[in-house]
Symmetry: C2
Subunit: 176 residues, 2 copies
């Protein structure tokens, strides 16, 4: 320090100023670098999130489209069933042929992930059944599916349409 | 410079070294900042590309799924048509009912973006027709669709299945 104290004041001050500026500059630059690194990391995380979301959305888009197209075809199957319900008994070649096409349509839905829901005498399950009527009976426990009025298609996760059913209720003691 | 030349050599050298280090540091930092900014811009562009690609892929996924599900249903419609082709003439309630369901299935495909291709006496178009047979005739210009053996579904952009057709050819003069 004693050496530097002997220097010309002007030069010393100029040097100190330059040093100071450089230190500020260096601090500014370190600061700017840290900020830029932060921006970079955010942009990387953003790209990563977009990528992950796209993969998730892709699976969802497919499932939505599969359900939409399958729903569009459902009336064709429903009407085949109605036509068969009003057709003469089996044995007629046309009736047998239409019954085979109905089975094919049901298989198609099942392969697409929408198995048929048409079991009777099972417990009512609000995830796959829609109760459109209630019937009093002693012949089945309360909450049993007595009749399937319109079959449903799908599982609990991939419901296309719940089955429309008649559900049992205990006979009212007052009236019974 | 003459002022500094009078200073103690040790101190001078130390100062110069410090200044030099700081200058290198400053240059390094400016360099690092430029590199980091470059990384940041690349990451931003990457996120942007991922976003654009996801939107494109989403539309493509939907279209693929729509085509796959529609193709799965096509045999149901084909078999309805076969059953009708072998059914007694219209007038029978079941036959009329099945004909209505066939129309409903054709409408469904059309609404999904796959209009029926079944026109005869049109020019053969390899984008929508598949020639399965050629027939010599003087009654239509060469390259005319004489008969549709199996209807197709789709447009030139969204082909589900081309129509299988018989195409005309000019009568061979040698044999004609």
């Amino acid at each position: 320090m004693s050496d530097q104290a002997g220097q010309a004041p002007g030069s010393n001050e100029a040097e100190a100023a330059t040093l100071g500026e450089r230190e500020i500059k260096a601090t500014d630059q370190a600061d700017a670098l840290a900020k830029m690194e932060d921006l970079w990391r955010r942009a990387l995380a953003d790209a990563d999130n977009v990528r992950k979301r796209a993969a998730r959305d892709g699976a969802q888009l497919r499932a939505q489209e599969r359900a939409a197209v399958s729903l569009a075809w459902l009336p064709v199957l429903d009407n085949l069933e109605l036509a068969l319900a009003h057709a003469p008994a089996a044995g007629d070649p046309l009736v047998d042929g239409i019954a085979a096409i109905r089975s094919q349509a049901i298989d198609t839905l099942s392969r697409l992930g929408y198995p048929r829901i048409d079991a009777e005498n099972v417990s009512f399950d609000p995830r796959i059944h829609e109760a459109v009527s209630v019937s009093e009976t002693d012949e089945a426990p309360p909450g049993t599916v007595l009749t399937v009025l319109r079959p449903g298609y799908g599982g609990t996760d991939t419901m296309l349409r719940p089955a429309s059913v008649v559900v049992s209720r205990a006979v009212n003691a007052d009236r019974g």
